[in-house]
Amino acid sequence: MNDRQKKIRNFCIIAHIDHGKSTLADRLIEKTGTVSKREMSEQLLDSMDIERERGITIKLTPTRMFYNYKGEEYTLNLIDTPGHVDFTYEVSRSLAACEGAILIVDASQGVEAQTIANTYLALDNNLEILPVLNKIDLPSANIEKCKKEIEDIIGLPADDIPCISAKDGINIDDVLNQIVEKIPCPKGDINSSLKALIFDSFYDNFKGAICFVRIFDGTVKVGSQIMMMKTGKTYEVTEVGVFCPAMKQTDILSSGDVGYICASIKNLSDTKVGDTITDALNPTKEALAGYKEVQSVVFSGIFPVDGAKYGELKDALEKLKLNDASLVFMPETSIALGFGFRCGFLGLLHMEIITERLEREFNLDIITTAPSVSYHVYKTNGEMLEVSNPSMLPPISEIDRIEEPMIKLNVYTPPEYVGAIMDLCQDKRGVFIDMQYIEKTRVVMKYHMPLAEMIYDFFDNLKSRTRGYASLDYEIYGFMPSDLVKLDIMLNGEICDALSLITHKDKAYARGRQIAEKLKKVIPRQLFEVPIQACVGGKIIARETVSAMRKDVLAKCYGGDISRKRKLLEKQKAGKKRMRQFGSVELPSEAFISILKTDDND
């Protein structure tokens, strides 16, 4: 191995959400002088507005730093990772590009659900794990207790753990030193043919699709002929470079490096994240392991408020898809909403973020239907259908049974909330499996629960019942038959497909009533009475009525000034534009959103 490669360290930072990952990343960048103090903006690597506002990291953002260790300069490549449970997939992507991981534990919170989950991911990828205790400046920090947790729960030695405050910049050098000392340098042969892993990609209007890569073997430079191993397509490289953290062009990328490749790649789908890039003229025999195909667990219909914007919505989804391989979508038609897409997400947060990005970054007004899971529907003729859109459910007479996805749920909580959580889980059709004291002040409760219950207001409920102290992680473990029914909403006697839901039989009544009440609040009065009915299998279980509108303003036309009348008319016209015509009923887009979440005051 050459000397250059010996002085490279590729690592990521993993942590539970809020434990200070992005802050530490910023300190490392600052300490190594990669970005001057003047250029530092709060949480440098979270470049999306949504990321900064919510204080979360969604995208992977790599950056290259230089650190002087015992008189020698080392290159440190950091790949920032998301912390939320929804983005486990993205974490695993960055892990595959690294040799080591810094595991941050909040000294005041201790080991949390995502700390453990991410540690396991890192171990699966054979990474060297460096635990770090953060937020030691907080009065509630308990260093000894946290060290013990790290040893007991995670099983890592904790005696020389750096105790830092990323916020105040305390002991950051300890972290940098340990990165050099403990994380192995990248292996790989600079002289064999190119082998680069695409761990992310990005669409640039001028340069086309840009691949974020980790070079394992060989080199790549401008003019190199490269090939995508999955598609077999070849390209000529137009630019290579590194992240500092802005993209900076370099002459060459060699084994061990983290950087980017541009090759005038026009088609977004040709830069499959997880694919291996190799030399087109001298291809490597074996591709890198790549990633597990990601599974969508939450599905929802997305429609443009203005039906004419279907094309724009499609373009926007395609652009998002390039940076977010976990987003899946296919065209869908709804009687109520027209043309749109059924989209698959990693979880509810992911769904929220995608819809928010569509609205903000692409300036689209969209309607999102209630999230659903994917059911396995076994028909009496033996056929099995995967149904993620409630309106696609076959008639009851053709259904033998429906199976729903089940999760193994771990809830971590202080013991005083155990009762409240048990109530909640029971209410959500959870089956209690086990409960363990991790230590005196921390319990892990294990449940088996239908995923559908999890995606419907479980998280909000858990947070409010435990004042935010509980955290959770979950994984899907299989499908189980269940007594599920389709709940339809009829407006003026017609089923509104976009409002249909699949729900457990025992809950249909309550939800039907709740939705009918909600709709009554959001549907404006129309020229005639609009009955809202919730029904299951043709049987009406709840009914509300929006009474007919009768009032219009009868104002005087003072001195021939019709501008007031015009203004009113324009206002009413604008309001009408945001309405969806369903049969003879006009529905505001809020009608579709309002059924997604429960109000606490209901």
């Binding site: 129309q526 020229l527 005639f528 509108m549 009768r550 009032k551 219009d552 303003v553 009868l554 104002a555 005087k556 036309c557 003072y558 001195g559 021939g560 000034d561 019709i562 501008s563 009348k565 015009r566 009113l568 008319l569 009413q572 016209k573 009408k576 003879s584």
Partner: protein
């Protein structure tokens, strides 16, 4: 060449006191400003002089035209006669407040050719009058109307408000009943609107008085409609009820897109297809050169205005006229029209789309369905 006649509106922005619900262009001004205002108004009328134009109606509104010295009114009317060709049978209306009217004023009006008086009665219930800040009592209003009759004004209108806080149907009906007894041939019923920035809205926001529920207002309106119909008042426009031949020509003119001059502060004109407006700031009006803000409605706006305005009347909107403007409503809105006809919101008669008698309350919603 015979030209279709036009109308004239004159705005008198003066009041003795401001009513709590009012957000129109009116205020309490000094005598000096009043004097200057009428000078400027005269100047404006002269500026638009055109003896070839036939005028079929004049409307002197406000504000409270009856609050100013009658000599001003006389000057203005005379000035209009000098500068335009006022038709012999022209309808000439003045708005009056029961508080500020007296015999001298009425006789003066009569002498200079005014033949119609519109009283801002609003209510004949003392409590209701007080709540909305009207200064007169029920008795004063009745006396004013009687006085007008004595002075040989037969064409009288009374404005009535629906939805005054504390007003119940009985109170409202009593007001109407009294007006019928007084043989008033024209009644306008408006709904009280809480406009931003008015004292009434303040009072409501501070929970000093309670607003009348919308459904109740409509219920009252529909009942009043039936009550007036029983007494042979015809509703020729959403808010206007009249005995045969007492329909207000000027009012109908607005709804049927007849052209008009508007003189005075914040007055609007509609001339040769364009809409003009005057400043609504008194200082600007008095001191600056007269300058009108002009706006020419686009084809679509013309169509929209025609539907919006004409549908408010019993005469309805002329399908052929819309077609002339390039909007084949019967073809382009077939689905909507079928739906509205089927559900008895509108009907088609003699090439006109008209709103069904009991559906005037939702005119705006119907209009929205019919716009291009």
């Amino acid at each position: 060449m015979t030209m279709t006649s036009k109308m004239i509106y004159v705005h008198i922005p003066f009041c003795d006191s401001k009513c709590y619900y009012c957000n129109f262009c009116s205020s309490i001004y000094s005598e000096k400003i009043k004097k200057n205002y009428f000078l400027k108004l005269t100047e404006e009328i002269k500026l638009n002089k055109n003896k070839n134009i036939n005028i079929s109606s004049i409307y002197i509104g406000g504000g409270t035209p009856s609050s100013v010295d009658e000599k001003y009114i006389k000057t203005i009317i005379e000035e209009l006669y000098k500068n335009f060709n006022i038709l012999k049978n022209a309808e000439i209306t003045i708005e009056a407040n029961p508080c500020s009217i007296n015999k001298n004023k009425l006789l003066c009006y009569k002498n200079c050719g005014i033949n119609r008086i519109s009283f801002g009665v609003q209510s004949l219930n003392n409590k209701c009058l007080k709540i909305i800040g009207r200064k007169n009592t029920k008795k004063q209003a009745i006396n004013a109307i009687k006085l007008a009759r004595k002075c040989e004004f037969n064409n009288i209108n009374a404005d009535v408000l629906i939805g005054i806080p504390n007003q119940n149907y009985l109170i409202l009906k009593n007001t109407i009943k009294n007006l019928i007894k007084l043989k008033i041939p024209h009644i306008s019923c408006y709904m009280l609107i809480n406009e931003k920035g008015t004292k009434l809205t303040d009072l409501i926001e501070n929970k000093k008085i309670k607003v009348v529920n919308e459904d109740k207002s409509v219920e009252y309106y529909n009942k009043i409609f039936k009550y007036l119909k029983m007494h042979t008042y015809c509703r020729y426009e959403i808010s206007n009820f009249a005995k045969d031949n007492f329909e207000c020509k000027h009012n109908i003119g607005y709804w049927q897109l007849k052209e008009y001059y508007g003189f005075g502060l914040s007055a609007h004109s509609f001339i040769d297809g364009s809409r003009y407006s005057n400043t609504s700031i008194m200082q600007e009006y008095l001191n600056n050169k007269l300058e009108y803000k002009k706006e020419k409605p686009s084809k679509t706006q013309q169509i929209e205005e025609m539907i919006m305005l004409e549908l408010r009347t019993v005469y309805g909107v002329d399908v052929k006229q819309l077609k002339n403007l390039g909007y084949d409503i019967v073809k382009e809105k077939k689905e909507e029209i079928d739906f509205l006809v089927k559900n008895k919101f509108i009907f088609l008669k003699d090439n006109h789309i008209k709103i069904c008698e009991d559906k005037f309350g939702v005119t705006n919603q119907i209009i929205l369905k019919l716009l291009p």
